[in-house]
Amino acid sequence: MLKVLKSGFFTTVQDAGRYGLRDKGVPISGAMDMISAAMANRLLENTPDAALLEITMTGPTLEFEEDTYISLGGAEMSATLNNAPVQNYKVYKVRAGDLLSYGKLERGLRAYLAIKEGFRTPMVLGSRSLFKPLTPHACLSDKSEVPFNASKGFEPKIEELKVPPISEGGALEIFKGPEYEMLTDAHLAALFSKDFTVAKENNRMAYQLEETLVGHHMAMLTSATLPGTMQLTPAGKLIILMKDGQTTGGYPRIAQLSERSISVLAQKKFGDSLSFKLVLTL
């Protein structure tokens, strides 16, 4: 077991996601920054669907009850293992009784803790990702216990990776969304020249942006939405759906973020700025 002594702001178990039920209204969930999560898993030679902890903004204090190996990724949160600093994307051997703590958020928003073979919380409809109401809770709380298998004698092929932090990704790449053509010249000029700010309303479901575009009266019938879908409300508000976002929506879907841009956005917090550039592939 991994004992959660203090849970932090929002610490959740996520994996590669829950697929095949979008037509029944189930969001895919899964790690918000899949690129960082996957790298942390890969160092431990885990399968891509291994469950890890996603740690948002302020980190937890964790006690390991068995020997194992871990690797951190994503946001940098001044993590320490028994008070010694721990760096991202490096395999660490952990012994029963060791304490992992987090300190100041230095960069990004979401950190990942991968563990050898992944966390073994219950599988619900093909995924261990926490998503209320499919799972009883959306995140861990003080005194939660997270199961994992003890591991010994692991010799990693690669012990350490040097990767630039994903939070410095530059302009977010967007594709044209299904309703892109409804945008006026004024919309387009604003969308691609302005800097936008992440609003306080940002979570695993969606990111809202502070700055608005001109409003509109375009009506459409409810249709599918995806993680990374950028909606424009009639009042001109921009909403970017994320991994726990609803599977259908009635607002025009003006753009679609690339998979990489979803990861970059997942590392942005309230007040951070961002801009967009159009990818023309077609």
Binding site: P178, S223, T248, S258
Partner: protein, 245 residues
Amino acid sequence: MSTYTISIKPFGAHAVIVEWPMEVEEAILYDILQYLQHLKAHCLAQEDWELIPAYNSLTFVHRETPIDFENFSQHLKEWYANKGETQDVPRFLWRLPVCYDKAFGIDLSEVSDRLGKSISEIITLHTQHTYTVYGIGFLPGFMYLGGLPQSLEVARRTTPRLLVEKGSVGLASKQTGIYPQDSPGGWNIIGNCPIPMFNINKDDPCFVSVGDKIQFYAISRAEYDLHKIEGEVGIFQLEKRLVDA
């Protein structure tokens, strides 16, 4: 059956959307379902793709690989032209119990005032009609139902509630539906359905599919209490029958 003019658009690197004329029309929905059935049976390896139908659109998502749009949209057009018109898509009419007791139907009196109809007239109208499932989304197991009689159209509440209880049956302008989970919401609540619309313990967690039909029937408070327990342990026998094409 007619064939419609469809338009195909890319939706990011991993998805493509096919759109039919923008109308809430059962014939369009059925055309989409025939196409979907044809694709699943003959054209697409099912495990690679997720297909999401809703009203006038069908969205294709490929989890692993980016889609070659030019190539794929060409295939989609050919498959649409060749799908045939006679194949039946099995669709079910589900009869769902609703308790319209005032303990659940917390807005019944207000709706009655606003519509100028007695509560029993509202219940009769609501249970008389069958509704078509045009989409499932917003929350796991939430059905977008079409076919509400005009006489039951009542604007949503000016201030949404922070908590609407699971199973609540509501009215909001042209829509009626069931809240599948506790959630915030602005619909006028007229009753409660004791049968869970989404059950994680079942292989098929949501028995309803897009294209199915729903009819409500009124039950007493005592029947509600019984069905609630039966529904939770999964022994409630839902009434369903095949709908003729």
